[in-house]
Subunit: 210 residues, 3 copies
């Protein structure tokens, strides 16, 4: 069940990777690379940092085949079909919630401290999107107020999951609860346009106005 959900998350992340190629004159191969980087980037960085190489998608090549197939199909269908934006946003929020809670759970297996487990959850959730944006020459979206509590939703979900696992170890409902919280936070942030404050320097010319 979790395995199927994980494949669903990888597929959704691959689609967002492909769509990031819009207007960039990227060819089919580049589109597949963007899909793979978005889908695997976060989990790969987590595995390298905690010392669990070979990384997860080398152990299970089904992930590679899944993401590649999704990318190729999206490449051709995007020419003629519109992807329903709101469905994609919900699916992406779902993938964020899933990747984050899987990242925390995996980090805890390695007996890291609570703060590190939270960091690994957030990295698993958002690093793939950061790498995608780097490759397409954008300042990463997760750094910007416009996308409304993306990484912050992951952070809250990761904090709650670590706390739950501390007080109720081995409770199977911990992960669904934390993932649900991440999902709800993310969707609420999109609905009501909630965001974090942005960085302002005292010397900014528009400091008074903002």
């Amino acid at each position: 069940m979790l395995y199927l959900l994980e494949h669903f998350g990888v597929g959704v992340a691959a689609i967002t990777g492909v769509l990031a190629a819009r207007g960039k004159k990227v060819d089919l191969f580049g589109v597949v690379v963007l899909a793979l980087v978005t889908a695997f980037g976060g989990g790969t960085l987590r595995d390298l940092l905690v010392g669990d190489a070979p990384v997860f998608w080398i152990h299970d090549p089904n992930f590679l085949l899944n993401a590649t197939a999704v990318a190729v199909v999206t490449f051709f269908t995007a020419r003629t079909h519109q992807f329903p934006g709101s469905v994609l946003q919900v699916a992406d929020a779902f993938a964020l919630a899933l990747f984050t809670t899987i990242g925390v759970t995996k980090a805890l297996v390695f007996h890291v401290t609570p703060s590190i487990a939270v960091a690994m959850g957030v990295i698993t959730g958002v690093a793939g999107g950061i790498m995608r944006d780097l490759l397409t020459g954008e300042i990463p979206l997760v750094f910007r107020r416009e996308i409304y509590l993306y990484a912050t939703a992951a952070l809250c979900g990761a904090l709650v999951l670590v706390a739950l696992n501390r007080y109720w170890p081995n409770e199977p409902m911990n992960m669904p609860v934390a993932a649900g919280l991440t999902l709800v936070l993310r969707l609420a942030a999109i609905r009501w346009k909630l965001g974090l404050p942005i960085f302002r320097h005292y010397s900014d010319p528009d400091f008074e106005k903002t």
Copy 2:
């Protein structure tokens, strides 16, 4: 013999790294970093992903000395000398073929599945160039149609090598054949301007015209 060829490939990659600094106001140190990243980036990423750290150039520091020396020499000679473009392109295609087939061969030593071995070959062949382009602020060249079947040539060579190794294990001619195929494909793509289709979104304003 293979070892000498590998050093040749590293030297050629280092030259392309240096020449990417053109017009970017990069200093001597930056040029050396670009050369090293281009020459070592792909193999380093492969080693990290399959869990073979320390990475290859830490085991054999001759690679570091070779690439650094080539970079410094290129830095000074580029001020007054023209590099023959077509010679460089052939040398670079040769390095691509070599890195890709070495990447596949090394991955197979780690008993990965065929699809992962192909992915590792392509990563070894093209990731260094992607990192070079990131550092100079460009959208990676291998993503763009303009460079004509670069990564795709690597992909074909890797696929063929994995297939050959499956049916004729330990056959010493497998690697030269696959490398030759990659080289020929790449040079043919340059000669006849062959490329993959680029990504188009149904809402692109110029969709009709392209």
Copy 3:
């Protein structure tokens, strides 16, 4: 003592990470990521390359808490307070000297060759800043003449430390001497605007004038 200095270096690097967000419309979360990447990027890359995962900040979560707290405080104080530029430059030069010599020392523990130890020292000193610049969409500062012998100061310090450790192994003054040299070189470069030559291509239009 060294441990306290290391935390000081991490804090200073975190501040430079935050200040790089100026004018980029980065939110609070993005600012924390920039601080962490700047502070941990070099050491993390070194640990991955030599095969020492889990990386250093996973072993000791105090670094994560320190850098995050510094980033959040800087985020809010930068709105109203001016950071004294020259104090920051000296603190940053100090962090560069510290990170570089720690990087060399750690690499030597892994019995690498002298040239690799030098490379690891430079990577530890400058890679965090390179990653910070990548994330904010800039061509890395350490590649540019404007910042005056930044990476070169690290290179000289690393070379001297490797030489000292070779001829006087276990001499406790080696590290302070090499760190001091790096610091003095960097500050002298700022004071007298010393820099490396930049890359020029024979076909550059402004070749005669520069």
